[in-house]
């Protein structure tokens, strides 16, 4: 057994003793710790904002009002959350196996490319019906993302190449690849973007049904949200109710035990990276089909893949929790666009992640304050 670590404060009348938790903490405890970590992060973020010459309280109030203030902005928040849900699902399944896929960003971009290629190549003619266009774009986006996940998965499985670095490098390659196509091949009048997609390739929005339901007027929430929620439910069943999910969890928790149990780690590494890439690619498809409606680098490569990492971690890799955490981060990104200085949302995300990781300590150890007896 581990000896208790002591942070010695010889002179003080009390001291902190840190000891490992022997029993599982109560069910509410992890959520409370995460919540506390976020509060601490917001306070630290506020301190830094005021250092940079901003007003933290106004900034935070602004975030709350500009993202949940009325049904219109709430709808915009959900639109921002949609790509994050899919990117975070992608990260969560890989992290579950302790595969550090940092390349959801690149897989997302490739998914957007794959889906756009259906429209722009064109694989399907512009007047194709929505009900054919959208499924084909989904498949193309997932396939392109899966290929982008396969490469680091294969290199990891066969050559033991560090997947953190290979996935990250492929992010930059994906951006350059899409830039080549939108500058060189599909450019609209020399601008850095493709022409707009035909109507059939747009994911339906709530506002499309405003005639039947007047309350939907102007709401931009699109089919991608449904895709994201369905994907989260399916992933939940895969992870917690299927044999494959059991293998993934076992490899993540104890690769040696998995090996002895006869689970094929090489094959699982490749398949999980492909699943991860496909989910991120689906996110890219949903973003070009539902929001951008053309292939363009800046709005697609907006860092959803990186936010997905934080969201997956905050949701403790639980697919259903990811939906709700994504909405919070969607709010942060939506409102953050108007906040000065412009790096604030990114910084707050970083601080939240740091505090979350640090707070995990409280799940594994107890801090005991005790009197020093001389």
């Amino acid at each position: 057994m581990t000896e208790p670590t002591t942070l010695n404060k010889r002179r003080a009348p009390f001291r902190f003793r840190i000891e490992p938790r022997l029993s599982e903490p109560p069910a509410w405890y992890p959520a409370a710790v995460s919540f506390g970590a976020i509060i601490v992060a917001l306070i630290l973020g506020g301190v830094l904002i005021s250092f940079a010459g901003g007003d933290p309280i106004r900034s935070y109030l602004h975030i709350a009002k500009a993202s949940f203030g009325d049904i219109g902005v709430l709808s915009d928040t959900i639109v921002k959350a949609t790509p994050i849900i899919l990117a975070a699902l992608a990260c969560s399944v890989a992290f579950r196996m302790k595969l550090w896929n940092i390349g959801a960003e690149g897989q997302f971009i490739m998914g957007a490319f794959g889906a756009s290629a259906i429209v722009l190549a064109p694989v399907l003619p512009a007047e194709t019906s929505r009900w054919i266009f959208i499924p084909v774009m989904m498949i193309a986006g997932m396939a392109a993302g899966a290929i982008w996940g396969f490469i680091p998965g294969y290199l990891k499985a066969k050559f033991n190449v560090n997947e953190i670095i290979s996935t990250l490098m492929l992010n930059y390659v994906a951006v350059a690849w899409v830039n080549f196509w939108i500058f060189g091949v599909w450019t609209e009048g020399g601008f850095q973007m493709s022409p707009k997609f035909p109507d059939g390739a747009w994911l339906p929005r709530l506002s499309d049904y405003a005639k039947a339901f007047p309350i939907f007027r102007g709401l931009t929430t699109h089919l991608g949200l449904v895709i994201g929620i369905v994907a989260a439910i399916i992933l939940w069943f895969i992870i917690f109710r299927s044999r494959w999910g059991y293998e993934i969890r076992l490899i993540g928790d104890n690769p040696n035990a998995a090996q002895y149990a006869g689970i094929n780690i090489t094959r699982n590494t490749i398949w999980v990276m492909m699943l991860s890439g496909a989910l991120a690619g689906l996110g890219g498809m949903s973003e070009v089909g539902g929001v951008v409606h053309r292939l363009q680098t800046a709005p697609v490569a907006a860092g959803y893949g990186f936010t997905g990492i934080i969201v997956a971690w905050l949701a403790k890799l639980n697919p259903l929790a990811i939906i709700f955490v994504s909405i919070l981060f969607g709010a942060l990104i939506l409102a953050g666009r108007e906040i000065q200085p412009s790096g604030v949302p990114k910084m707050i995300q970083g601080i939240i992640l740091v505090c979350l990781i640090a707070s995990d300590f409280l799940l594994r150890y107890r801090v005991v304050i005790e009197r020093v007896e001389e």
Binding site: T2, E3, T5, L48, I49, F51, A52, W100, I102, L155, F159, N160, V161, N162, I164, I165, S166, L168, M169, L170, Y172, V173, A176, W177, N179, F180, F183, G184, V185, F306, I309, I310, W313, Q340, P341, S342, G343, V344, K346, M347, I348, Q349, G350, I351, L353, V354, L356, I357, A358, D360, F361, R364
Partner: protein, 322 residues
């Protein structure tokens, strides 16, 4: 196209990678993987540039960059050494944090104009050596020469001195080092700090010497991640790190310069007549990093050279294992 000029600029650009790689090498030799290099470099580049604008003294800029990046690295050190959290996730968090903080504090810096940069000079006599003198010793930034000194000194420190022996012991077999009376925790904190300072120096090298200015996240453009890849390629050896860093620096320069001339090797230059192909050139450093990792991993397997045995594992006193 004058190849010596490209190589000369490549050495300067490689110096950035060299500092970051050697810094990470020290941290990893002590058993701590720090994936936050990119974030610490951004902190370094931003604080060096803004300090230099405020004071007019680039040396002060370098100093502040190293201290600020070193302090930021201590967040990672605290989380993984004291709190024993996962080093991968914490390093990622540090990257986010460093990028975010440097974006917030660097707001408006991109429009700040020019600053006094670190001096360039030539080394007398050594410049007279044909080709090599031109590439390595003519009109280089003072930091490039610091880089030349750093490589052998780091090697000597790690392999031939007593503190270097302790460093290796802590990374390979911390419980044995602990039994010898070496303070494993303090050593790891220290070398993570060294890694942070070097990453800060790398950032300062960008913003005050190689490509002066602050261009938000584009300032580093993933070089921190390339540096982490280079440590694996280097097999934790400073000389191999130098080869990798300078080769990558030269590659980066070549990509910039190859699109200029009308004629390349006697043929019409495709990159001049079709600039879109330049995007494929932009992919090269990143693809090369992956290739280098494949080579490095295979070679390590063949020669049975591995990472420091305790790399990535927290040290808990009294626990069994490494």
């Amino acid at each position: 196209m004058d190849y010596t000029i490209i190589l000369q600029a490549g050495i300067a650009s490689g110096t950035v990678l060299l500092f970051a790689t050697i810094g990470e090498l020290f941290a990893e030799r002590s058993g701590v993987l720090n994936l936050g290099v990119e974030g610490m470099m951004l902190i370094g580049a931003m604080s060096a540039f803004s300090t230099t604008i405020a004071t007019g003294n680039p040396w002060l800029g370098v100093l502040v960059a190293m201290i600020f990046a070193g302090l930021i690295s201590q967040i990672h050190a605290f989380i993984v050494i004291t709190l024993q959290a996962d080093q991968v996730v914490s390093g990622l968090a540090l990257t986010f944090l460093g990028a975010g903080i440097s974006l917030v504090l660097g707001e408006g810096l991109s429009k700040a104009g020019t600053v006094s940069l670190l001096p360039n000079f030539s080394i007398p006599l050594l410049t007279l050596i044909p080709i090599i003198g031109k590439i390595f010793f003519t009109n280089q930034s003072v930091l490039v020469y610091v880089g030349y000194l750093l490589v052998p000194l780091s090697w000597y420190y790690i392999n031939r001195t007593r503190p270097g022996l302790h460093l290796r012991a802590v990374g390979e077999y911390p419980s044995a080092a602990d039994a010898l009376g070496i303070n494993v925790f303090r050593m790891r904190y220290f070398y993570v700090f060294v890694g942070g300072m070097m990453a800060g120096l790398a950032g300062a090298t960008i913003s005050l010497a190689v490509s002066p200015g602050w261009f938000s996240e584009l300032t580093t453009g993933g070089q921190g991640w390339i540096a982490i890849g280079l440590v694996i390629f280097a097999q934790w050896d400073p000389f191999r790190a130098a080869i990798g860093a300078y080769a990558f620096g030269a590659l980066r320069r070549l990509i910039l310069d190859i699109q200029g001339p009308l004629v390349l090797f006697g043929f019409a230059n495709p990159f001049y007549y079709n600039p879109y192909l330049g995007f494929f050139l932009q992919m090269l450093p990143y693809l090369f990093t992956v290739v280098v990792l494949v080579i490095g991993s295979r070679e390590a397997l063949r020669k049975r050279i591995g990472a420091p045995a305790a790399l990535g594992n927290p040290y808990v006193r009294g626990e069994r294992g490494l």
